[in-house]
């Protein structure tokens, strides 16, 4: 077994930064210059209060970087890399502020012993909230190094410059010293307090430029390690007996047949029944021999009765936005539109299933886990082991996709419990069936909108009620004098009495649903008004940023006024905002009237995301959002009955494939002087609505439920006749 490279660092023994004195921590880290800084992520702190179960939170610092005695820069952060590319973009920021090459910046991510606490990687927050203080820390480090160089070279700071980690006198380039020489034999600890001046866009050498992924070579050679690739001496692969349905309780397990397989270790401890073996496939074979009995699940929910149930269970709403008077608005309306929209449970389906490897040595438990929130996993593991959390270390190797789904860490709990019981290192890697079963799905949701047009074809009122999709993207951004936005029902969590299984955050949580409903409703009104959907939006945007972004998409698409939809062209528009970014999307579709199949031929997407750190990386995220969005828009829907998840593998759950690939054209507005916004999620929110509107434009049918699958298209077509 090769050493895991995370362990090559020479500070194996250190404990979690926050549970020890800061000075002691830095002492353990070897020489160099340290800049400690705080990420002002207030949202994170609110959540953290709950996540850390009332324990005090660190307030002094939660990230730091080191310039070591070789001049190499290392950033330690609790954020993780799961394909979103922050391993590259965060390094770019540091390289630029420090004036070093991108190659000399290293990211140590998601290791709870080496990295300060972080709430987790989700919500497109890394660049927005982590970026600015990271840059400031880089700038601070540069300033400290310049001061040191000034002393060493006897040249005032303002006469010095830096290139590639070498400080030199502007007028005499031979008078120089490297960062490595400056930090050698020293240990300097600085706290970032005031705000050092950051580079201006005109000074960027690395930021706002495109780089291929920092980790690409590891990933194309198969050397990149994911949690399942961690193999420890003596490690056993565990297969756990799972219930056939959510809510089904284990009553009896007969392990006698499984036990007969050579080398199998069995565990039968109450709710945890498992078979383990040095080969995962043999463990799987043994699992098939376990005779387990379950009491049936009390759940009586299925795809047909779920919406009725959800509406009943919703309780009172919470008004999050309000203007004018709805009654007044309705009175002034010539046309009233009363529509209900539905969205389905959707799976995250990362290609890497949830995986964890746990190893307990003495008091210390080390876990390699595919997780988006290692510090939460650490608490969960500690609780399962009934130990203090400082005894647990979570290491996050590369994560094979998350999309919000790897914020639940049930596999970690299984792995640590089994490691404790068996006394061996244990790997728990979900099968695809388990991945479907335990996924915290994107919640099914209902949105009711009542709206109106006055005699001048202006929107007169907007009464918006969203059930279970939450408030992200719920408030409209159109010029409507009388409006109300109400949010009902818990969006996520383990609300067993509401949803038949866990639900949770799915890429741009709730916003896909909200944008679908809002932008369909806008199109319905535009059609009634007899106005082109592009023009109707342009006329009714309140925020000029929407006008700017839709215009950018329209120009690229070559939008020409087409008048009232349906035109038979198959064009559809949707706009929205997520994680601080603005998006406009125009698509072109074809509908096969015989099969009900939709072919998305072209997608133009314009995005305003403020300063773009890595334009290529941001483009890739947009392309990914668009292609992934085709799935929730067209086919993806979890099938379930009485607590059982009927999708057991990809044959019954259709993900986007190569043949679906439309012509994708992306535009990122040049906003280099504005703060950076989120990029991993925004472009996915408009996909469903734009396609629904395009289907209407093509064949004149209005679908109110996602996915917009062949079955519902055929049904709507036949009803139209």
């Amino acid at each position: 077994m090769k050493e895991d490279n995370y362990l090559d660092l020479d500070f194996k023994e250190i404990k979690t930064p926050f549970e020890m004195d800061r000075r002691e921590f830095v002492k353990l880290m070897g020489g160099g210059l340290f800049i400690l800084f705080t990420v002002g992520d207030t949202l994170g702190y609110v959540e953290a209060q709950q996540r850390r179960r009332g324990q005090d939170l660190p307030t002094d610092f939660n990230a730091f970087l080191r310039i070591d005695e070789k001049g190499e820069v290392t950033c330690f952060t609790g954020k993780i890399e799961m394909g979103q590319g922050i391993i590259t973009s965060l390094a770019q920021m540091l390289a630029d502020e420090l004036d070093v090459s991108l190659n000399s910046v290293h990211m140590i991510m998601g290791d709870t012993d080496l990295c300060p606490w972080d709430m987790g990687t989700f919500g497109s927050m890394s660049t927005r909230f982590f970026g600015p203080p990271l840059r400031a820390a880089g700038a601070e480090a540069r300033r400290v190094l310049l001061e040191m160089a000034s002393e060493k070279l006897s040249v005032p700071v303002d006469k010095l410059n830096v290139d590639n980690g070498v400080v030199f006198e502007k007028t005499n380039k031979k008078n120089k010293v490297t960062y490595a020489d400056l930090t050698k034999g020293k240990k300097i600890e600085k706290h970032l307090k005031d705000k050092p001046p950051l580079k201006t866009p005109a000074q960027f050498k690395v930021m706002n430029k495109s780089f291929i992924h920092h980790d690409a070579v590891e990933k194309v050679t198969g050397k990149a390690r994911y949690s399942g690739d961690i193999q420890l001496p003596g490690m056993l692969y565990a297969k756990v007996v799972r219930p056939p349905a959510h809510g089904a309780k284990l009553t009896d397990a007969d392990l006698s047949e499984a036990r007969k397989i050579d080398g199998v270790v069995v565990v039968n401890e109450g709710d945890l029944v498992a078979v383990l073996h040095e080969y995962p496939d043999v463990a799987e074979k043994a699992l098939a021999l376990v005779k387990a009995k379950f009491a049936p699940s009390p759940s009586r929910l299925n795809n047909n009765n779920i919406y009725e149930h959800l509406l009943k269970a919703a309780g009172g709403g919470n008004e999050i936005a309000k203007a004018g008077d709805l009654k007044e608005g309705e009175k002034n309306s010539v046309h009233v539109f009363d529509e209900t929209y539905y969205d389905s449970y959707v799976a995250h389906s990362p290609i890497e299933p949830h995986t964890a490897v746990a190893n307990i040595e003495g008091k210390k438990c080390t876990v390699w886990a595919s997780t988006q929130n290692p510090f939460t996993a650490k608490e969960e593991a500690a609780k399962a082991l009934d130990t203090n959390s400082e005894n647990v270390r979570i290491i996050t190797p590369f994560v094979g996709g998350g999309f919000g789904g790897k914020t639940t860490n049930l596999q970690v709990i299984d792995a640590v419990r089994l490691a404790k019981i068996t006394g061996k290192p244990v790997q728990v890697a979900y099968t695809r069936k388990e991945e479907f079963f335990y996924d915290a799905f994107h919640p099914a949701a209902i949105i009711k909108i009542k709206s109106g047009l006055d005699k001048n074809n202006k929107m007169s009122f907007w009464d918006y009620n969203v059930y279970y999709a939450g408030e992200r993207g719920a408030a409209h951004f159109y010029d409507i004098p009388n409006s109300s936005t109400k949010v009902y029902g818990a969006e996520r969590g383990t609300s067993a009495e509401i949803h038949p299984f866990r639900t949770g955050a799915w890429r741009a949580p709730g916003n896909n649903t909200n944008t679908f409903a809002r932008e369909c409703q806008i199109d319905i009104m535009a059609a009634k008004a007899g106005i082109d959907p592009f023009e109707f939006r342009m006329k009714n945007f309140k925020d000029p940023k929407y006008r700017e972004i839709l215009k950018a998409a329209g120009d690229k698409f070559g939008w020409k006024p087409m008048g009232k939809s349906p035109t038979g062209k198959g064009y559809g528009i949707a706009c929205g905002s997520d994680a601080g970014s603005y998006v406009a999307m125009i698509v072109e579709v074809d509908v096969n009237k015989k099969t009900g199949g939709v072919k998305v031929k072209r997608v133009v997407c314009a995005q305003n995301m403020g300063l773009t750190i890595n334009p290529e990386g941001a483009t890739i995220q947009m392309e990914g959002c668009i292609m992934m969005g085709l799935g929730y828009a067209l086919t993806e829907e979890v099938q379930f009955n009485n607590g059982e998840v009927l999708n057991k593998n990809f044959d019954s759950y259709e993900l986007p494939r190569f043949s679906w690939l439309p012509k994708i054209e992306t535009i990122i507005l040049d906003k280099r002087n504005e703060p950076p916004q989120g990029g991993g999620e925004p472009a996915i929110i408009t996909v469903g609505a734009a396609i629904a509107n395009a289907i209407y434009d093509k064949v004149g049918i209005r679908l109110h439920k996602m996915p917009l699958n062949a079955e519902s298209i055929l049904k709507a077509l036949s009803e139209k006749k």
């Binding site: 990362p350 290609i351 590369f398 292609m627 690939l661």
Partner: protein, 158 residues
């Protein structure tokens, strides 16, 4: 049934006493420690486990050791030559045809199988050949571009 199975793995002759019903995927990952080949679904749907067997792309999760006997297997770890990346590996890295990278070894091996059969694939040849390999990060556009660019390079280099 345990048998002595001999085959060629990444250019070397290997033999192994193994239950011949075990699937190649797990034998590669555990007995040989070659973890570049990934599990995604275990039933032949996703392509994450794709390797080359006798010059053809095959799903190692559904190929038993019996079927491997006497054959030549290439995994992602066997593509580099003298420390140099294979043109497909290079193209995937240069075109940024990956995000999380988990599907990448399977994508590259599947494309390798395509280029063995068809040196100058068109866009639709590539789409057809890659159709049953899933990428949830949805890097499809760039994967197609990477395969195209690698095929052009390989043509030139002969």
């Amino acid at each position: 049934m345990t048998e002595l199975i001999e085959f060629k793995l990444n250019g070397k002759n290997v033999k192994l006493n193994v239950d011949s019903d075990r699937m190649l995927l797990w034998v590669l990952r555990t007995n040989f420690g070659l973890t570049g080949t990934k599990y995604g679904c275990g039933e032949g749907f996703c392509g994450a486990c794709t390797v080359i067997i006798n010059n053809e792309a095959a799903r190692s999760c559904s190929t038993s050791m019996k079927e491997v006997k006497g054959k030549e297997v290439i995994t992602i770890e066997g593509l580099e030559r003298e420390g140099k990346l294979h043109p497909l590996q290079k193209a995937f890295a240069e075109k940024d045809a990956l995000q999380c990278g988990y599907c990448t070894p399977g994508m590259i091996m599947n494309a390798y199988g395509l280029l063995k059969k068809n040196k100058k694939p068109t866009y639709s040849h590539i789409v057809d050949a890659m159709e049953d390999n899933f990428c949830r990060c949805s890097a499809h556009k760039r994967i197609v571009q990477a395969v195209q660019s690698a095929s052009v390079k390989m043509e030139k280099e002969g």
